[in-house]
C-alpha cells in the first residue's frame, strides 16, 4: 500500500500532536495561570495581590475573611479581644501543625509576627505600608498571645489579616529557605518553585481545617500548579487551549469577548477617581467641581472603556467599613454642569482664564489614556476648555500626587486621575491619606472631615462605622475629588471543569475550588 502525500502529512500531524502535546497532570490536579512572577515566596509577601493566589494556600494568618461579607473571622486565632486601648489578646488555635511538623503555639505566633513586622529586617519593605503603631508580641500562655501597641489601633485584627505566620523552626534554622521554600499551616504545602515558570503545591493532609467546622473550604484538588503567564493574551490562550482551568486577572474587554461565559466578574479591586487641587481659584469653587462631576458620563466610561465598570460615589467599595450605601453616584447631566459653570463665571470665578492640568500616571490602570481623553472631551463639552491632558512617567507623577494640601501652589490647578485599591476593608487608612488636612496625598482640607476622621479612626465596632460613614457623607457633599468608576476584576474559569465562586476579599484560594460536578 502506498500513502499519498496528503495522507503522509496527516499521519505526521497526528504523530506530532500525540508526541508534542504536554501530558496533563492527574485528573484531580489543577493548573492556574497567574499574572505575575513571584519574587520571593516568604510570608511577608502573602498579602500582595500578586502573590496571594499562591501564598495564601500555603500560609495562614491569625484572622481570615468571610468570602461573602468580608467580615473578619477566626483562622489561626479562634478568638480575640481588646483588653485596653493598647493591649489585645488573641487565642491561638490548638492542634495546628506546620508543614514541617512543628506545632503552632502562642510563642511561634509571636515570633512569626515579630519577624514579619520588624522594620530592620531585609525584605520587609513591601509590607511596611500596612504598618500601624509599633507592636510588641508576647506569649502569655501556651495558646494566648498578647499584643501591646504604642498607640491605640482598632485596625489591629485587619492588619493581622495581612500578616501570615511562618514556621519558627524554618526561620531560625533555614532563613534562606524561608524566602524560597515556604512552610506554613495552610491546606496546601509547597513542592517546587521554578523561577519564571511555575510553583507547585500539594494537599497537606495534616491541615487543621480538615477536622474543624470553621475552616471555610476544603482541599478538593490533590495537587496544584501555578503557571506564570505574565501576558494577558498568553493566559487567555492557555485557558482556551485547556492547559489551565483558571486564568487570573484578565483585561475586561478581551476576557468578555474571547471567553464569554467563562469570563467571571469578581468584586472590584480598586476605585478610579480624580484628585483636584482644592486650593485653586477655579477648582476650589464647589460649583465648578460639581459641574465637572455632572459632566462625566460614568456609565459610558464604565461600559465602553473599562469593560463593565460601575459608577461610584465613594473612594472605597461597598464591602469596606465606612462606605455609605445611601449616597448615589452623581448623575451625568451636562445641562446642569453648564448652568453651574455659568453661575460660577458670573460670580467672578476665573473659569478658563487659568489653565488646568488633567494628568494620569503611565499604566496606572488599563485604558487610563482613553479615560483621560474621554474626560477631557466631556469637560470641554460643558465649557471647560482651558484644560491640557497628559500621561506622566511615575517619576513626574508621584511628586505631584503626593504633595500635601498645605504645600500645593495655588495656581497649580492639577486634576489627577488615579486609582485607589480596596485592600483594607476599612475607610480609615484611605481617609488618612486623602481626607484629612495632614494627609500625605490630600489636596483638600476641611476641619469637620479631619475631626470626624479622628473620632472614627480611634473608635471600634458600631461607633467606628457610624463615624466613618459620617466622614464619607462629608466628602460626598464637599465633593473635593471626583469619583468615576470601580475597576472590575475579571478571571477566566473553565466552568465545565472547575467550580469556583469569587470572594469579596478578592483572594483566589484553592480551598474554594472543586472539580465541576
Amino acid at each position: 500500500m502506498t500513502l499519498c502525500s496528503t495522507q503522509l502529512v496527516r499521519a505526521a500531524a497526528i504523530v506530532a500532536a500525540v508526541a508534542l502535546t504536554p501530558a496533563p497532570l492527574f485528573a484531580q490536579d489543577i493548573t492556574i495561570a497567574v499574572a505575575e512572577q513571584p519574587d520571593a515566596l516568604d510570608s511577608t509577601h502573602a498579602y500582595q495581590a500578586s502573590h496571594s493566589t499562591i501564598l495564601r494556600n500555603i500560609y495562614e494568618a491569625l484572622t481570615a475573611r468571610d468570602p461573602v461579607t468580608s467580615e473578619l473571622v477566626p483562622s489561626l486565632a479562634t478568638d480575640w479581644k481588646q483588653i485596653d486601648d493598647t493591649t489585645w489578646h488573641f487565642t491561638i488555635r490548638e492542634g495546628v501543625k506546620f508543614h514541617d511538623g512543628s506545632d503552632l503555639t502562642a510563642e511561634v505566633a509571636a515570633f512569626g509576627l515579630d519577624w514579619t513586622w520588624n522594620a530592620e529586617r531585609k525584605g520587609s519593605i513591601s509590607i511596611r505600608g500596612f504598618m500601624g503603631p509599633t507592636m510588641e508580641f508576647e506569649a502569655i500562655g501556651d495558646y494566648l498571645l498578647e499584643i501591646r501597641l504604642s498607640d491605640p489601633d482598632p485596625l489591629l485584627p485587619t492588619r493581622l489579616y495581612a500578616s501570615t505566620i511562618p514556621s519558627m523552626q524554618q526561620v531560625q534554622n533555614d532563613p534562606e529557605g524561608w524566602l524560597t521554600s515556604p512552610v506554613g499551616t495552610g491546606p496546601y504545602k509547597f513542592v517546587e518553585w521554578e523561577r519564571g515558570s511555575h510553583v507547585d503545591v500539594e494537599r497537606y493532609d495534616g491541615w487543621w481545617g480538615l477536622t474543624a467546622d470553621d475552616a471555610q473550604g476544603n482541599s478538593a484538588f490533590e495537587r496544584a500548579r501555578f503557571l506564570v503567564r505574565t501576558e494577558n493574551a498568553a493566559r487567555i490562550a492557555a485557558l482556551r487551549a485547556g492547559e489551565v482551568l483558571m486564568a487570573e486577572r484578565l483585561s475586561p474587554d478581551v476576557c468578555l469577548t474571547e471567553l464569554g461565559d467563562d469570563c467571571v466578574n469578581a468584586p472590584a479591586s480598586s476605585n478610579v477617581f480624580i484628585k483636584m487641587d482644592n486650593n485653586h481659584p477655579v477648582l476650589g469653587d464647589a460649583r465648578v467641581r460639581m459641574a465637572i462631576s455632572h459632566a462625566i458620563d460614568r456609565e459610558g466610561i464604565g461600559e465602553a472603556i473599562m469593560g463593565g465598570a460601575s459608577p461610584i460615589s465613594q473612594l472605597v467599595a461597598p464591602s469596606v467599613l465606612g462606605h455609605d450605601p445611601d449616597l448615589p453616584p452623581h448623575q451625568y447631566n451636562p445641562e446642569r454642569a453648564r448652568e453651574l459653570i455659568a453661575e460660577a463665571v458670573s460670580d467672578g470665578v476665573p473659569v478658563n482664564e487659568m489653565p488646568l492640568r488633567l494628568i494620569a500616571r503611565q499604566d496606572s490602570f488599563p485604558g487610563n489614556d482613553q479615560v483621560l481623553e474621554a474626560i477631557l472631551e466631556m469637560m470641554s463639552q460643558v465649557g471647560l476648555t482651558n484644560v491640557s491632558a497628559s500621561i506622566l512617567e511615575p517619576s513626574s507623577f508621584n511628586p505631584i500626587w503626593l504633595t500635601n494640601y498645605s504645600e500645593i501652589e495655588e495656581d497649580r490647578g492639577v486634576m489627577a486621575l488615579h486609582r485607589q485599591p480596596n485592600e483594607w476593608f476599612d475607610l480609615a487608612p484611605v481617609a488618612s491619606i486623602y481626607y484629612v488636612c495632614w494627609g500625605q496625598g490630600a489636596s483638600y482640607c476641611s476641619e469637620p472631615a479631619t475631626e470626624t476622621f479622628a473620632l472614627g479612626s480611634a473608635a471600634s465596632g458600631a461607633e467606628r462605622e457610624a463615624h466613618l460613614k459620617a466622614l464619607s457623607k462629608i466628602i460626598y457633599e464637599d465633593n473635593p475629588y471626583i469619583m468615576i468608576v470601580d475597576q472590575p476584576l475579571y478571571h477566566g474559569v473553565d466552568k465545565g471543569l472547575l467550580s469556583w465562586t469569587p470572594r469579596v476579599d478578592m483572594s483566589i484560594l484553592l480551598k474554594d475550588m472543586a472539580p465541576a460536578n
Binding site: L20, D39, G196, L227, T230, S395, W401, Q440
Partner: protein, 304 residues
C-alpha cells in the same frame, strides 16, 4: 591576522566599557532611581530610608564608585527577586541563547533556500511568492504573529503548548523559535536573493555559463562569493534575535533574559535592569566580534 583580531577585541572592550558607563548614567543620573523603585504611595520616610540604604543620597562620583563596587559584586541584589542580580540574569541566559540559536538555525537555511530559489528564477511566480512571504517577515509584528500561531497551533489544533519552557523540550520551542525566525527569514531571504543576483550578473558567471557549467555548480560558485555579506547579516540577525527576545519571550512565557528584563522594568528593579541590559550588551558585542573573526576567515582582504 593576529593583529586584526587583537584590534577587534580591543574595540569590543572599549564598547563594553562605554556600555558600562551608559548603564550607570541611565540608571542613576537620569531621574531619581528611588522614585522608580517605590510605588507612588510610599511615604517620604520610606523613600529617604531606601535612598540612604542604597547610597543614592551621595555625590555623583561616590555613586559611580559605589556602582563599580556593586557591579564587581554581581550588580547588587535584585530588590524584586531578593537575590543577586547578575547570577539571576546569567541563569536565564541559556534559555535566551537556546531560543535565539534555534531561531537562527531555522532562519539561515530557510533564507538560503528561499533566496537562492528566487534568484535562480527572477520574476517567476516562485520569485514573487517568496518576495511576498519575505516581505511579510519584515512587516508583521512578532507579537501578533506569536499570538496567531498560538491561536492556530495551540488553541485550535491543540498540537503545541501555548507557552513555557517545558525543560527545553522540542514541543515548547517550536512556536517561539518560528515566530522569531520569520522576521530574520524575511530580511535574510531578500538579502540572499539580491546578493546572488549581483553575483549572477558578474562576467565570471557568464564565462562559466559559456563553458557549459551546470546551474547547480554555478550556484555553488556564486554562493561562496555572496556568503560574506550574508554572514555579516546573519550575525546582525543574531543580535536582533537577542533583542527581539524581549517581546517573543513574554508572549510565550519563555524564561529568558528578555522576559526577565520586561518584568524587572515593570517591577522598577533598577539593579536587575542594569544587569540584564549589561549582559545583553556584552552578548551582542561578542556576537559582533565573532562575525568579525568569521569575516576575516571568509575574506582574505580583511586580514591584510
Amino acid at each position: 591576522m593576529t593583529w586584526y583580531l587583537l584590534s577587534r577585541a580591543q574595540q569590543s572592550v572599549l564598547v563594553i566599557l562605554a556600555a558600562f558607563v551608559l548603564v550607570f548614567v541611565i540608571g542613576s543620573v537620569i531621574g531619581d532611581p528611588v522614585d522608580l523603585m517605590l510605588p507612588p504611595e510610599a511615604s517620604d520616610a520610606v523613600r529617604d530610608q531606601l535612598r540612604r540604604s542604597l547610597g543614592f543620597d551621595q555625590p555623583l562620583h561616590i555613586q559611580f564608585l559605589n556602582f563599580i563596587i556593586r557591579v564587581a559584586n554581581g550588580f547588587g541584589e535584585s530588590i524584586w527577586q531578593s537575590t543577586p542580580a547578575l547570577p539571576l540574569v546569567l541563569s536565564r541566559l541559556p534559555a535566551t541563547l537556546y531560543l535565539a540559536g534555534c531561531a537562527l538555525l531555522i532562519a539561515v537555511p530557510a533564507s538560503l533556500a528561499l533566496g537562492g530559489w528566487a534568484a535562480l528564477r527572477p520574476s517567476s511566480m516562485a520569485d514573487r511568492v517568496i518576495n511576498i512571504f519575505s516581505l511579510g517577515g519584515v512587516s508583521i509584528v512578532d507579537f501578533w504573529l506569536g499570538l496567531m500561531l498560538v491561536l492556530i497551533f495551540s488553541v485550535q489544533l491543540g498540537w503545541l503548548p501555548t507557552g513555557g519552557y517545558g525543560g527545553g523540550s522540542v514541543a515548547y520551542i517550536i512556536l517561539p523559535a518560528v515566530t522569531m525566525a520569520y522576521r530574520s527569514i524575511g530580511r535574510l531571504a531578500q538579502f540572499t536573493r539580491s546578493a546572488l543576483l549581483d553575483e549572477y550578473a558578474k562576467p565570471y558567471v557568464m564565462t562559466l555559463r559559456a563553458k557549459g557549467m551546470s546551474e547547480r555548480r554555478i550556484f555553488l560558485h556564486t554562493i561562496k562569493n555572496a556568503a560574506i555579506p550574508i554572514v555579516t547579516l546573519s550575525g546582525d540577525e543574531m543580535a536582533s534575535l537577542i533583542n527581539g527576545a524581549i517581546v517573543v519571550e513574554s508572549v510565550f512565557s519563555w524564561p529568558g533574559i528578555g522576559s526577565l528584563l520586561l518584568q524587572a522594568i515593570g517591577q522598577r528593579d533598577l539593579f536587575l535592569i542594569e544587569a540584564a541590559v549589561f549582559v545583553m550588551t556584552v552578548i551582542i558585542i561578542l556576537v559582533n566580534l565573532l562575525i568579525d573573526i568569521t569575516y576575516a576567515y571568509l575574506d582574505p582582504k580583511v586580514r591584510l
